[in-house]
Symmetry: D2
Subunit: 350 residues, 4 copies
């Protein structure tokens, strides 16, 4: 009953197997090997156009360098108030784009409100050296709170970006979970809706460590090579990333693991809805469930081996969480089993 | 016949196997899992004292963050003119310690000359805001050119560091190769000789990606946690590093692979010495061989499948390389076979 | 009728005169001259204890380097949402402390609300590498909106700082205006109430360019010398700053100019209160007046030569500014005359 | 007898007078006033084409931001080994272009040797992420050792820059001294010979504090506004700089002061040449004299009130300075008098 985070899981057996299988033999270093090239091409097939692909070590690196590509002195990037780049990256986005700033935008359930975004960007619209200037907008798909931007939501955000001449970044640490939730293609969820650059995460969805920056503007992409190296993010034996992605994409493993994780969240949501001591904070749309639970019941479940953590109550739930209750987050992954969830349901039923 | 670099090899079978074996199950993220803790302790046993261990993504990160721990405004670190931090890291050390500088020190065969180092540090000895001030000394063990600092060499460098109140960093991307070359213990090669912080590399010696900063001053080490996270170097599923190190240390695999790599270099050196068209640039002491070879012969060998690259002629060989010759570098690894070397020898014999 | 900003004024005649008088002769550069030393000592007399004084080029530099002294990786400084460091410095504080962030705190009339501050700092209270960690609190005295923190207000902020082990910075771009408004001594307004470091501004109060960092912790102050030089903020002919401060302090010129500026704001406030087309946004406490004025009347006044700008309506005035009205800012200085204000009053009576 | 540095002098009476005269009245801040505009235009007349002009606080800032305009990740700028940017700026150029590096180039008497420069740049010529890539070349005019690049020297350096697609920066902290030494126009010494951006210094030549970046590529220049503000280098009362430049250019005061300073160096050189205890290190070409003097004689002169400092013996003088001798630097300025020099001559004869 490990619901703490999808990064508590290890690697999917087919990822592990493929990695082992590629351990022998020699290959050019720094991402110039044959397997590397094959994987870059595979990304192109998946996105239905030529793309530039850059492996990096962490999701934080993917986000930070994506924004760095578009960085300018005095630059400000906009993201949801609860976005990972704003809340959980220790200033790495600002550090890797020196002097840049992040501006929080409000919005219900982890999605930036389009009007709030427009207003936020609008505050800085002119080239004003005192206030600084907008350089990028970032949205998280799926969001930090387990919801998903619909295609039209993305288009609406993109329209703001275009109006202000700004690039649009997608933090896709849980890209696959959103993709299967919407049941659309990667192209539809990204460049066809105005996304310019993607942090494409495989780690949370069954890889050990597989994060890539995917970029559609090939000219601009060249700078990433230098940004990455000077940030100490260039793997020498890059094929250990390629091997993971190779298995990840083979036979649509990535969609399978994401569907499984989402299904487990749906199952968990049903369990919670049927509990007398718990209710959903909001409807889960990917692989995270947020539930308001009687504290005593939650403590008991934790004492019985269920691992999950509490979460700050967002403005949208203000006044809806009683004193004896708290909000908790549950994350499911490729490794979550129906059995675990059912056992947790039994704990909740007491 | 892949002698291009030790990072062209993949992973040792026992590393790959251990990684696969650890893929199942759940574990706390960000290096707080049980396997992680066990591996940190293992480092302590290996170094014969309590140490602080921080996994990072690359050797460049290990070097850069090691120097960042000791960084100060106006800070200058000293290393050999051909050191990786100076020649091959795209300014990452300077970028991750903003405003810092690296000062090249001369010395024969990749080792800093102690007098040159003393003179170099001495130029900046006072607290002078115009020139800046020394903050660290870094030595590479084994060096970029396949030689090794003897224990007394390290002590001599350390004496300079102590005299100026400077910490001493060891770039140990090829730590094991030096260790088995000297046939000493990790403690003897590091803190017992005045080393304060080590970039401990496993990648080149049989891992996929296993780099750690090892630090002996536990108080000071706390800062690395923040430096690492803001540099986007904190792995979420850190156990994929721990699993590699676990196998690396088990049954002294790391010493075995390093001994093999060094032995292969010795064999290659013998092959070269016996060739009519080649001779050694200098005696190899670890797993790299530098040879002066007739260009035509080298080209032929390359055309026949041997992979190796030319190298800039250092000052110490000035005038000794004829017009029809060039200097080439060969790197051996755990994956190099005696057969490869013998086949290469035959190519050289023509 | 120049009310755009106190930096539209030039220099007070006694400042200009003193500067001219010091133009001849030779003096050690970089702040080591006799006049420089005398002025540093004068600062000590004014603050009633030994202080470290560092001249810098701009108020932005004074603020940024003050925070940089206390910077740590992952560091977050707290200031009022409308503070200059957050709104008007183009990311300089973040740039000069690489990777640092500023966290906006709400509060009425430009003063941080103590509970909001406590809550904001409390969000980051533990040593959490993901969220980052608090490193400093900054308050602006007088505030961006012409109000002043009372001594007890400063103590209350300082109590939060002490509770969390944080240093407390005062952005004193308008230090003198606050000082004469409170009618207290510099010591009482700073270190006796828990302030650790001050951006001491002379420019807005009658100097050409005279900004200093004043620090009470002399040990820690040593770092500023390097921070300043690497930020390209070390003047060679520093005596041109010293000469300005020398005249500024002589015969309490600085208090005289600040009193005059404040009195002019009071006179302006009276003029506005007596106008049928204008009213005060809030009571001015230093040298800035914020008034809600009928737009047509404001336009006419501007067309007749009055220079002043509109200002974003803060939350505290929400709903109180009619469609035909706007909020405007007026800044008075040593150079403002009663006659100007009376002429402006006539325009408003129009 | 103050020969320590040209920044030990104060301000020329006409500069001081003009500054005083401009102290009254109101003017737009941040360099948007009428006097500011007039001065920008004056720069255009002086350079015989439209130029972008940005005032900054120090020569270090002018150099650092000039290089920052052309900065790229992994960027390397080339300058003479003894250049101010390399030796005397505490890493400010690297700090204000995060992650950038400076590469020292050898050359006799302060001038980069063209072949050494070509070789240095050539080492990095390809787009190699490991080594980094060249981004700019910087030359100092007049040089740190009182010599001057002839127009053809500049053309030769510029040819290297063009060949490698690099911009060419001139550190003109002593621009005027070089200009009158060559007896050419500012246009001839800069853009007509391939200079792209100039650190135009007035401080050492009679101003209090007057440093400007002058740029010929007006499109590219826009970025400086943001670079400057985020580096805390934007003066609010910028007219105090404009007033200095206004007087500096009026009636060719700047050429007059530079000619005087150079003439004083020539006079000092003659004094030294005629001394039995001193001789020139090399022929002075601007306002600095380097002399080899008997230490005892030098000490006596210093004890009698002459202020000058010793200087590291460059490679070009190796073996030419006896044990009882040392190399000393003397700098003359607008404020140096013939009488001072003659008195110093008597001391040397003494």
């Amino acid at each position: 009953m490990f619901f703490a985070s999808d990064n508590w899981a290890g690697a999917h057996p087919r990822i592990a197997e493929r990695l082992s299988a590629s351990a022998a033999g020699f290959s050019r270093a720094y991402g110039h090997g044959e397997l590397d090239s094959a994987v870059y091409e595979r990304f192109g097939q998946i996105f239905e156009r030529e793309v530039a692909v850059f492996f990096v070590a962490t999701g934080t690196a993917a986000n930070s360098l994506s924004l760095a590509v578009y960085g300018k002195p005095g630059g400000i990037s906009f993201g949801h108030r609860e976005a990972h780049i704003i809340e959980d990256e220790c200033g790495a986005p600002e550090f890797l784009s020196p002097g840049s700033r992040l501006y929080p935008v409000d919005g219900r359930l982890g999605r930036m409100d389009v009007k709030s975004l427009e207003r936020a960007v609008g505050r800085f619209a002119s080239e004003n050296v005192h206030s600084g200037r907008p350089t990028a907008i970032s949205l998280t798909q799926s969001t930090e709170v387990g919801t998903v931007y619909g295609l039209d939501d993305i288009s609406a955000i993109s329209a703001v970006a275009k109006r202000h001449g700004l690039p649009l970044h997608m933090d896709g640490a849980r890209f696959a979970n959103a993709l299967v939730s919407l049941d659309v293609s990667p192209a539809e969820m990204t460049w066809k809706r105005g996304i310019d650059i993607v942090s494409f995460g495989g780690t949370k969805n069954g890889c050990w460590c597989a994060e890539a920056i995917v970029m559609f503007d090939l000219d601009r992409a060249r700078e990433i090579a230098f940004l990455r190296k000077r940030s100490a993010q260039l793997f020498s034996k890059a094929r250990f990333i390629s091997a993971q992605f190779d298995a990840y994409f083979a036979n649509d493993l990535w969609l399978e693991t994401a569907r499984h994780a989402n299904a487990m969240s749906a199952r968990l949501a049903a369990v919670i809805e049927s509990s007398p001591v718990a209710r959903l904070g909001w409807k889960p749309e990917a692989n995270e469930v947020f539930a308001i639970i009687d504290k005593e019941a939650a403590n008991k479940a934790q004492a019985s081996g269920a691992v999950f953590y509490d979460w700050n109550v967002p403005a949208s739930l203000a006044g809806q969480v009683a004193d004896n209750e708290a909000l908790y987050r549950f994350v499911t992954s490729f490794a979550t089993t129906a059995d675990e969830i059912d056992r947790f349901g039994e704990l909740l039923r007491g």
